[in-house]
């Protein structure tokens, strides 16, 4: 449940669900997000769910903090149906052409390349949120022995499709962008497709993702 509602500036509500990062808190956030999204309250522009917060921004010309807060406090999201999630398999190629940070991870984690991939692949990860850049999924949780910090100096350009890890999370760079996560491989799948206006994201909050390894030939032929 929402522990506290405050204002983020004069045009957004900051709904705090707690400080821990876990599926149970995040599922609450997603339930609120889906319930409010469906109800289409006049004046609400945007909803941004994250691990344990939900930010609701509104058009100050149409409504205000008091009105939106009152509305959110009287919503019964706890009763809403399950979060309607899907299970997805994401092919990933971990050939040395792509796994730019595997050596760094071997050193930090004190694990061999094989062990790192064994720990990472064929496991279920939960999508906590999408964003930062369009469609980027934040997936968790990685095994305890797989948790590494971000690069000290982020790369200026991370290739599109890069599958990367930091701390307890994995993500996928949906297009070329700057970034500091440790890159393990690359997926040939389009995770974000802006030409599909109704469903641009392949992975949505609440979904479950499993990474399956493919080899370089399979990667090259994937979209043919």
């Amino acid at each position: 449940m929402i522990k506290n509602i405050s204002n983020l500036g004069d045009a957004a509500l900051y709904c705090d669900f707690g400080n821990e990062v876990n599926k149970s808190i995040n599922s609450q956030v997603i339930k609120y997000f889906k319930t409010i999204k469906e109800k289409k309250f006049e004046g609400i522009n945007n909803l941004t769910p994250s691990y344990n917060k939900l930010i609701i921004s509104y058009d100050l010309k149409k409504t205000n903090f008091k009105e939106v807060k009152n509305y959110v406090e009287n919503i019964n999201a706890g009763d809403s149906k399950d979060i309607n999630s899907k299970k997805l398999e994401i092919p990933v190629c971990c050939h040395e052409n792509f796994s730019m940070d595997i050596k760094r991870l071997e050193e930090i984690l004190k694990l061999s390349r094989e062990k790192i991939l064994e720990n990472f692949l064929n496991k279920e990860y939960f999508c906590y949120m999408t964003g930062f850049i369009a469609g980027m999924p934040f997936l968790g949780d990685l095994d305890e022995n797989m948790r590494a910090q971000r690069l000290e100096t982020p790369r200026v350009k991370v290739p599109k499709g890069s599958v990367a890890v930091t701390e307890q999370f994995a993500n996928i760079y949906t297009f070329e962008s700057p970034g500091g996560w440790n890159i393990l491989g690359n997926t040939p799948l389009d995770i974000f497709d802006s030409s599909k206006e109704n469903k641009p994201n392949l992975i949505n909050p609440g979904d479950t993702v499993i990474f399956k390894e493919i080899n370089l030939d399979q990667y090259k032929n994937y979209n043919e």
Binding site: S6, N7, L8, G9, D10, A11, A12, Y14, N19, V21, F33, K37, N45, N46, L47, T48, P49, S50, Y51, N52, K53, L54, I55, S57, L60, K61, N64, F65, M129, T130, G131, F132, I133, A134, G135, M136, F138, T174, F175, S177, F192, S194, E197, P200, N201, N204, P205
Partner: protein
């Protein structure tokens, strides 16, 4: 083929098509975008008898040089902008906040903005642009919007789908005011900063850095010391949020901002000051002033009334 079009002789530094922006997409990572200085965007459209949510060309610092072909059409430039209109035998200096009629072969040369960042060029008609999620606004980082999500380029041709039949010339006496300080509401991580850091935030001057664009404005100057944690668990952002990363230099989120961020939020710029904030060019000095929520709401209402008033007089 359209018989009314613009050819881009010189695109300018950061010229894009913008409109009122796009809603309901933060949760998948797509920001609001839209015209940075909303008031100047609206006035530009009104001056050429367009719908207020029509697409315009937004430019930063140096604007485009354009050649027009087709039937007579009106255009207007808003902001604090130096530009000229080149006709067959003459070249005249243009004035902002006035509409002009141009004819086949005329050129508009937007030389630069004056001690400000953004200016707007509206054409009396409808540009032939692709819409994505109900907006043509270009987000060059995610390549979303019209023009394949890219800035205007040299040699490019832009068609007009239709031109306005109302060609009345209009003008207004609007003057862009500068403000002494940017009003901010306390952020959700205000208590992450040392007493000294909080004092610096409200009392010292910051300088707008060159590393500022439609995504964000980076500030230099005194450092703001964090005493709790220089990272938070990533969470949503909105435009106007002031984040302070580990280096102590504030970054203000602007219209194309990343939708999620992990740096503590010291404050949020009041909506009333957003249009004027984005116009502060690199090297400008910024001072922040604390304001409470209810005053921010009242001031925005007044600002909005003033905008509506300005528009109704055009």
């Amino acid at each position: 083929m359209s018989s009314n079009y613009l050819d881009i002789i010189r695109p300018g530094i950061n010229s894009t098509f913008q409109d009122k922006g796009r809603d309901h997409l933060y949760h998948i990572g797509i920001p609001f975008s839209g015209a940075m200085d909303n008031r100047n965007y609206l006035i530009a459209n009104k001056l050429v008898n367009n719908n207020l949510d029509s697409a315009v060309i937004e430019f930063a610092y140096q604007g485009p040089h354009i050649k027009y072909s087709g039937e007579n059409i009106n255009f207007a430039v808003t902001g604090d902008v130096i530009f000229s209109i080149k006709k067959k035998d003459t070249e005249i200096e243009g004035k902002c906040y006035e509409s002009y009629q141009i004819e086949n072969g005329d050129e508009i040369n937007i030389i630069s903005t004056n001690k400000s960042v953004y200016g707007y060029l509206a054409l009396g008609g409808e540009l032939d642009l692709k819409f994505q999620w109900n907006s043509c606004s270009i987000n060059t980082k995610a390549n979303i919007g019209s023009n394949d999500g890219k800035k205007l380029d040299v040699g490019q041709r832009i068609n007009l789908k239709k031109i306005n039949s109302n060609k009345n010339i209009k003008k207004t006496n609007y003057i862009n005011t500068k403000i002494e300080s940017i009003r901010v509401i306390k952020g959700t991580n205000f208590d992450y900063f040392s007493e000294e850091g909080k004092k610096i935030f409200y009392e010292k001057e910051f300088t707008v850095s060159k590393l500022s664009d439609r995504m964000g404005m980076r500030l230099g100057g005194p450092k703001i010391d964090n005493i709790v944690n220089t990272n938070i668990k990533s969470e949503g952002l909105i435009k106007g949020v002031i984040q302070v990363p580990a280096d102590g230099n504030p970054i203000i989120m602007l219209s194309d901002h990343g939708t999620i961020g992990g740096y503590p939020k010291i404050g949020v710029v009041a909506s009333v000051d957003y249009d004027r904030l984005v116009q502060m060019s690199p090297g400008s000095k910024i001072k922040f002033k604390e304001i409470n929520l209810s005053d921010a709401e009242t001031l925005f209402k007044l600002y909005e009334m003033e905008t509506q008033n300005l528009l109704s007089q055009i």
